[in-house]
């Protein structure tokens, strides 16, 4: 199911070209207001100017919290939040996933869920008379992740991490 990175880049770039640099996106971005290193307007400007490589290898693209405020407010209809998703997807293919995200992906692969269960919570559930948790069919979920290429990306990114443990 994988597209060639060049095709993805074209797909990312063409809808960004209508940006007229008004900065509405940055003005509403909860991250930019607290950490100006992550500037959605500037990311779009760099993409338009062809500085794709710089953006792609930056760590700040990962600082977008995907709140979709920028996408909602852009007067030119630039879907910045999903442009950032596309960029992060490309960054993953280079093995540059931040540890926090990688941990979540590992848990997802190993359990089919993104939270691990703890005895304390399971006891609380009993006290509250809640039904047993219906856990998902893990083999099916893992099969999807093997076929889709998720597992390969996970391994690639874990290998890049010095502390990686083999799955």
């Amino acid at each position: 199911m994988t597209e060639h990175p060049k095709i993805i880049l074209d797909r990312i770039l063409s809808p960004a070209r209508v940006c007229y640099q008004c900065s509405t996106c940055a003005g509403g971005c909860p991250v930019f207001c607290n950490n100006p290193e992550m500037n959605p307007r500037l990311i779009i400007e760099k993409l338009i100017l062809g500085q794709v490589e710089e953006v792609l290898t930056s760590s700040y693209i990962w600082n977008c919290g995907f709140c979709l405020i920028c996408t909602q407010r852009c007067p030119q209809g630039v879907d910045l939040a999903h442009i950032l998703v596309d960029l992060k997807n490309l960054s993953v293919k280079r093995g540059n996933t931040p540890v926090g995200v990688l941990d979540e992906m590992k848990t997802l692969y190993l359990t089919g869920l993104t939270q691990e269960s703890s005895k304390t919570v399971l006891n609380r559930r009993k006290k509250l008379n809640l039904p047993e948790i219906q856990y998902p069919d893990l083999s099916e979920i893992q099969k999807i992740m093997d076929v889709s290429g998720f597992n390969d990306l996970l391994k690639l990114n874990l290998r890049k991490e010095e502390t990686s443990e083999p799955l």
């Binding site: 919290g65 405020i69 996408t71 995200v101 919570v121 809640l130 069919d137 076929v147 889709s148 290429g149």
Partner: protein
């Protein structure tokens, strides 16, 4: 598609509620029971997370979402979510799969290997939408009105955006949660930065900025002297409930009455209380004591 949902719903709990905040699940089950809404529990996997998983690999994100949708389709039940993140993922994926044949065919090719097929026959709803439709009924059922209490509401990003697909409420000026609190006779306090994100998407990547984002909101809510803050999402709940103490540790700022913290409550907990359920076991699990007797 059954428009009136007389068959009930497939209850989609997600990961965070059952495994971290079971009291939200408990309150929600009580409320659904009181309102005679039938629910069925099914072995769903992670929705998956609209931020982390989509950012890591968007093909897998929609595949896993499609698998969950198939599980509900097999029972011919609409999905009812309690979490904004699950709501966005499942509703957006459902929309894409319903409207984009190319994507659907690609996904179905893979799902066929596990004997599944996405058909596009169910809807995805957030519990808040359902409760909003039932607000008149709820209003007549209130036993313990919340006259004496003032609330700050927080909707959360993924309940409202992307608006074009979710269509939950006006994304810049939402009202449904406010009205649902007013139905219980609670008072809504206006505050600055009501539309501000909870910063959860950043928590594991840029911890300090995530705390700054929490802080921005807590400062404003604190100013209102509200008795509690009402949320509709377990992730927003986590950010504010425990996050305000991480902010305290970081910058030494104290919020709430006597600096003991601002109580955060999930809407169905409030509703269950108003409907006269004994909520003491649920409320005991909060860090910050809720103001109710």
């Amino acid at each position: 598609m059954n428009e009136d949902n007389s068959n009930g719903f497939a209850l989609f709990l997600g990961c965070t509620i059952p495994l971290r905040y079971p009291f939200i699940e408990s309150a929600s089950r009580k409320v659904l029971n009181a309102l005679n809404i039938k629910i069925k529990d099914l072995p769903f996997g992670c929705c998956p997370d609209p931020n982390g998983v989509q950012s890591f690999h968007d093909d897998t994100w929609i595949l896993l979402a499609a698998r969950n949708l198939c599980i509900a389709e097999e029972e011919n039940l609409d999905i009812l979510t309690l979490c904004n993140g699950c709501y966005e993922t499942l509703k957006v994926a459902n929309f894409k799969l319903q409207n984009n044949k190319e994507v659907r065919n690609k996904i179905n090719k893979i799902l066929a290997e596990m004997g599944k097929e996405y058909r596009g026959i169910i809807r995805v709803r957030h519990i808040l939408q359902l409760l909003y439709e039932l607000r008149d009924k709820i209003s007549n059922m209130v036993v313990r009105p919340l006259f004496d209490y003032r609330f700050a509401t927080h909707y959360g990003c993924h309940l409202l955006r992307p608006f074009e697909i979710l269509q939950t409420d006006n994304p810049e000026h939402p009202i449904i949660l406010d009205e649902l609190v007013q139905v219980l006779n609670g008072t809504i306090v206006p505050y600055l930065k009501k539309g501000m994100c909870c910063g959860a998407g950043l928590y594991s990547i840029d911890y300090n900025t995530s705390l700054e984002i929490i802080r921005e909101k807590m400062v404003e809510v604190n100013r209102t002297k509200a008795d509690a803050m009402v949320v509709t999402c377990p992730t927003c709940f986590r950010q504010y409930e425990s996050g305000q103490f991480l902010v305290r540790k970081n910058v030494g700022e104290y919020y709430g009455k006597n600096g003991k913290g601002i109580p955060i409550v999930y809407y169905t907990e409030l509703l269950a209380f108003a409907l006269n359920y004994n909520m003491s076991d649920e409320f005991k699990q909060h860090h910050v004591k809720l103001p109710f007797p």
